[in-house]
């Protein structure tokens, strides 16, 4: 699924990557205020770009009662985090994990996912055409999985010391 480098750019593709809804989430991130007393949290980092996400989750039994993120990084990483929080808020942990799997599948296959409520997130489909940016988009979901595992640190790189 490597794209033809001779056709790998152009403003059409750019519109695919930066859909208006993505820019909207980037400019006005949702669920961006810290929680009072989160039940679990996790930090994610993409060491090659410097994208970071801090995620706080309030679990109500097996349901994600509330969620918030903070972070810094490119528009794709931060918009993806904002969209992720919107999707998982109020859903069960199992649904959230299914969302994470669907997102990963979308990035590797380049195909839209038919999960209910995933419409906004499908806007990130264009990222799949930019292999260098897939890690940016995936960071939020990896951090979510880390938080649901009980917290800690998620990284898009196993070994952060190389470039």
């Amino acid at each position: 699924m490597t794209s033809d480098p001779l056709k790998a750019s152009g403003s059409g593709l750019l519109d695919d990557l930066y859909r208006e809804i993505i820019l909207d989430h980037y400019r006005r991130p949702r669920n961006h205020d810290p929680l009072q007393s989160p039940t679990c949290s996790a930090d994610g980092a993409n060491p090659l770009c410097g994208d970071t996400i801090h995620l706080e989750v309030d679990l109500d039994g097996r349901t994600i009662g509330d969620i918030a993120f903070a972070g810094s990084g490119c528009s794709i990483s931060q918009a993806s985090a904002s969209m992720m929080t919107e999707y998982v808020k109020g859903r069960s942990v199992d649904d959230a994990r299914r969302g994470a799997e669907a997102f990963q599948l979308m990035m590797t296959s380049g195909e839209p996912q038919s999960l209910e409520g995933f419409d906004d997130i499908d806007a990130l489909l264009g990222v799949a055409k930019f292999p260098a940016r897939v890690k940016c988009a995936s960071l939020a979901w990896k951090t979510l999985e880390q938080a649901l595992e009980g917290g800690g640190t998620a990284s898009t790189e196993k070994d952060a010391s190389h470039d």
Binding site: S9, G10, L14, C49, G73, S75, F130, S161
Partner: protein, 421 residues
């Protein structure tokens, strides 16, 4: 063998249109826009002359070197060794044997760390580097520190991207055995005042390694005038092929150093019990080397020598001066590094307010403008600037002020694209 005088090089006028015709890739389109290649600090492009010399070797002279009596092997050996002479002359080495061919700057520095550092440095010996080094001049010394207990010291960076020379005076002392320092920062373009630091190192009897990955392609470099011990550089940043680099070192150091790798071509005799090493530089070139790459390296040096490195520097200085002013006028742009063009190579590291460097690079690409984004393998520099990454435009002989204009206009487009809240 002695070095021939460089008079045989015919100087050509610095004709930018003629130069650009030598680089067919510059005629490429990216999407629908003509390419503006501004990622030369990562790797340069190669002119048709270099490509032709490499093709000619593989087509007409290809054979293994230093081995055969047959005609092709003799020709290949002659071409390989002629390239060594060209590279040696380019940095004003005393003799061609002082040039060891490697894969790149990184391998050259590692060769010094292994062949010289492991043999001559002991626990407590100090190696002084700086905060603006590329990872390739940090990590080998950290590895040696962990293995041998040497002490690694860093000359700090000031906010304007220059080195703190006052601090350097304190750091370089009687325990310093090696000063290993870049001549030009790849992340910021800072030109390091080598003479000052080298004089301090010499005062304490320390050896000096210069990381010339960014300086040798862009500035006149003379190892004898600098009075240094080691110089590491790469072919691919100076019009030559990838996978090709060089370590220049004083002959007596190479003679005293242990080999890095064992194998064919680096031995004098091998018995079942032991082996003896070949002479310098063959001792450090185990196995069949990158013969075609070395020949391309020689052709690249020919190309630059014909232009003259003073003319190369003058051209880049003009571009850098223009770019500092032109980009400095673009709203939201902050430029890192020394404010004056004279103090920097053709490297402009910048950030655009409220837009992450990766987004900047992505949108610039759609305008055909190729820049590097990220930490540039210089994470300590990013940490000192307290930014995760920067966008970096870097120039070479074929870039024009019109291309700087296209960069500036494209950055304004980026602002518009992300700005409309």
């Amino acid at each position: 063998m002695t070095i021939t005088t460089p008079d045989e090089v015919t100087r050509l006028p610095f004709d930018i249109e003629r130069i650009r015709r030598d680089f067919p890739i510059l005629k490429r389109d990216i999407g629908t826009k003509p390419l503006v290649y501004l990622d030369n600090a990562a790797t340069s492009q190669r002119p048709v002359q270099v490509l032709a010399e490499m093709t000619r070797f593989y087509r007409d002279h290809n054979a293994n070197i230093h081995r055969g009596v047959h005609t092709l092997s003799v020709e290949a050996t002659d071409l390989y060794e002629e390239s060594r002479r060209k590279v040696a002359r380019f940095v004003n080495a005393r003799r061609p044997e002082e040039v060891v061919f490697t894969r790149n700057t990184t391998e050259s520095i590692n060769l010094v760390a292994h062949g010289w550092g492991r043999k001559f440095l002991q626990a407590g010996d100090e190696v002084v580097i700086s905060e603006i080094e590329h990872h390739s001049n940090i990590v080998p010394w950290q590895m040696l520190r962990d293995e041998r207990g040497i002490v690694l010291k860093y000359i700090p960076m000031l906010p304007d991207g220059t080195l703190d020379l006052e601090a350097a005076r304190q750091l370089i002392g009687p325990k310093t055995r090696l000063l290993s320092i870049t001549a030009m920062s790849n992340a910021l373009g800072t030109i390091v005042p080598l003479e000052v630091l080298i004089a301090q190192a010499k005062e304490h009897g320390a050896k000096v390694l210069v990381d010339g990955a960014q300086s040798v392609p862009h500035l006149p470099v003379d190892v004898q005038a600098l009075d240094i011990d080691f110089l590491a550089f790469s072919a691919h940043k100076m019009l030559g092929p990838t996978g090709m680099g060089a370590l220049w070192a004083r002959y007596e150091h190479l003679d005293a150093m242990d080999p890095f790798m064992g194998g064919g071509d680096m031995i004098l005799t091998v018995t079942m019990e032991r082996s003896t090493w070949a002479d310098v530089p063959a001792k450090f070139e185990a196995g069949t080397p990158n013969v075609g790459g070395a020949i391309g390296f020689g052709a690249a040096v020919d190309y630059l020598s014909a232009l003259g490195m003073d003319a190369v520097r003058a051209h880049e200085l003009e571009l850098t001066d223009y770019a500092l002013r032109r980009l400095g006028d673009v709203p939201g742009v902050s430029i890192f590094g020394p404010p004056n063009a004279e103090d920097r190579g053709g490297v402009i590291s910048f950030e655009l307010e409220d837009v992450h460097p990766h987004d900047v690079g992505q949108v610039l690409d759609t305008h055909g403008v190729a820049v590097r984004t990220g930490h540039h393998c210089a994470q300590p520099v990013m940490a000192a600037l307290t930014v995760p990454a920067t966008a970096r435009a870097s120039f070479y002989i074929y870039n024009t002020t019109e291309e700087v204009d296209r960069l500036a206009v494209a950055i304004e487009e980026v602002s518009r694209f992300f700005g409309g809240a």
